[in-house]
């Protein structure tokens, strides 16, 4: 038995999200609700305690003067985060949980991408963190698009895109992030649908959106790079991605100003009939 398992655990819960089994245990029962509030919607409770990943949260119960009170998060037996602010720990938990689901789900294929819907066109913007996905998604929403996701796009076995139940994570000036509801930007939540347009883009200081079309094979290669489960389940990833791009146009290019980019993409889609 590992050392951590010998600690006294006051409360716990086991649930399933996107067919991935997750457990949470906490040293302070009052913390469980806060931790659980970070689980994406659509989970269901498990009767069995057998899980694929177990999160353990240790928080100080008795506070003493002149002593640093640290909250510690473990993923299975690995320490993931140690911080004085419980909010930081919860942010870390949320991000690790999303990644774990994305890397292990067999129910959906997750692509690291932002996604919006505009007049029947589903737009996918793949990219790693800090490549401006949320910036573009926010701009699309302000222009009237509906929201799927700003970080993980969830694709089903038929290749259709589904919303990922998280609000936008907008970076603040202090290098933190805050959640913004798409409704606060005047946007609706999008319904599942096939992917029609993939934007492969990065910001460049002097860039201007002037894209070139990319073949579906090349596009799939770029999507695979942004698929957390690709190494673990390559057959599943290829099968779903192939269906996902089979009626999609894929465009690639650097972008500069976000407003100009979004406007040009929307103008292009407005001039194109739905397939």
């Amino acid at each position: 038995m590992e050392k951590i398992d010998r600690l006294g655990w006051a409360a716990g819960v086991a649930f399933q999200a996107f067919a991935v089994r997750i457990g949470i245990r906490v040293s302070d029962p009052l913390v469980l609700e806060s931790v659980f509030s970070r689980v994406p919607a659509g989970w269901s409770r498990l009767q069995s305690a057998a899980v694929d990943r177990l999160y353990s949260v240790v928080t100080p119960i008795i506070r003493r003067r002149n002593v640093r009170h640290l909250c510690v998060l473990y993923g299975d037996h690995t320490r993931l985060s140690r911080t004085e602010r419980i909010e930081d720990l919860l942010d870390y938990f949320e991000s690790d949980l999303d990644l774990h689901i994305a890397a292990n789900s067999q129910d959906r294929l997750f692509i690291h991408a932002g996604a919006v819907r505009w007049k029947g066109h589903t737009i996918l913007i793949p990219g790693h963190s800090h490549t401006g996905k949320t910036t573009l998604v926010t701009e699309f929403l302000k222009s009237g698009a509906a929201y799927y996701s700003d970080d993980f796009a969830a694709v089903d076995h038929a290749g259709d895109l589904h919303p990922y139940p998280r609000d936008l994570s907008v970076r603040t000036q202090s290098n933190g992030s805050e959640r913004v509801r798409p409704e606060d930007l005047g946007a609706a939540r999008a319904q599942p649908g096939p992917i029609s347009f993939v934007l492969l883009t990065e910001y460049a200081e002097d860039g201007r959106w002037s894209p070139s079309a990319v073949s579906r094979g090349q596009g799939m290669l770029r999507l695979l790079e942004n698929t957390p489960s690709a190494r673990k389940q390559p057959g599943f990833a290829l099968e779903v991605l192939q269906k996902a791009v089979e009626s999609a146009e894929i465009h690639q290019g650097y972008r500069g100003d976000k407003q100009q980019t979004v406007q040009e993409v929307l103008n292009y889609l407005d001039g194109r009939s739905l397939s």
Binding site: L80, R82, D91, H112, S129, S177, G217, Q218, R231, K232
Partner: protein
């Protein structure tokens, strides 16, 4: 005019697909190597060449398989393309006669001189990053970290008070 060495090389060197997950999409072929977690996208003709190597095949046999679509393709160009794909680990290459591989360098030089610049194959390869790397960049020792930028795994680092320190 083709020398005897070239004819022998075309007839005795055999190429066979390595074990990949393969998908055909719009004429291109996508390959995934589970051993190295590398994905490759082969353009139309490269994909057809790769597909034609299901069994150990010579350049002459592969050329025959390509002729219905590419009637003008030359056996030397196919051989050079297959060799190129073997070099990038997409195909396994074997020679029936050891003596042939002795003259190979010269052959490559002779063929390479005329074909290297005009090979019709195009292969794009990417190394698929581990799940964590795809999700976010990570911070090195003594660099600022946060919930969104964790410390790099495997270095014994932990994020303490916003900075990556040794644990």
């Amino acid at each position: 005019m083709r020398t005897r060495e070239i004819s022998d090389e075309l007839g005795f060197t055999r190429f066979k697909q390595k074990k990949f997950i393969a998908r055909k999409i719009d004429g291109e072929v996508l390959l995934f190597d589970e051993e190295t977690s590398t994905a490759h996208c082969l353009n139309g003709i490269a994909g057809e060449m790769w597909m034609a190597c299901k069994r150990k095949s010579t350049a002459i046999e592969v050329t025959e398989a390509l002729r219905p679509k590419w009637p003008d393709i030359e056996e030397e160009v196919v051989w050079a393309s297959l060799s190129q794909m073997a070099k990038t680990e997409l195909l396994e290459e074997t020679t029936d006669q050891e003596i042939i591989s002795m003259s190979r360098r010269e052959l490559v030089r002779k063929l390479g001189f005329t074909t290297a610049a005009v090979l019709p194959i195009l292969v794009t390869s990417v190394l698929i990053p581990p799940a964590a790397a795809a999700a976010s960049p990570c911070a090195q020792f003594d660099h600022p970290c946060s919930a969104t930028i964790p410390c790099c795994p495997g270095l014994g680092l932990g994020c303490v008070l916003g900075r990556c320190v040794n644990l």
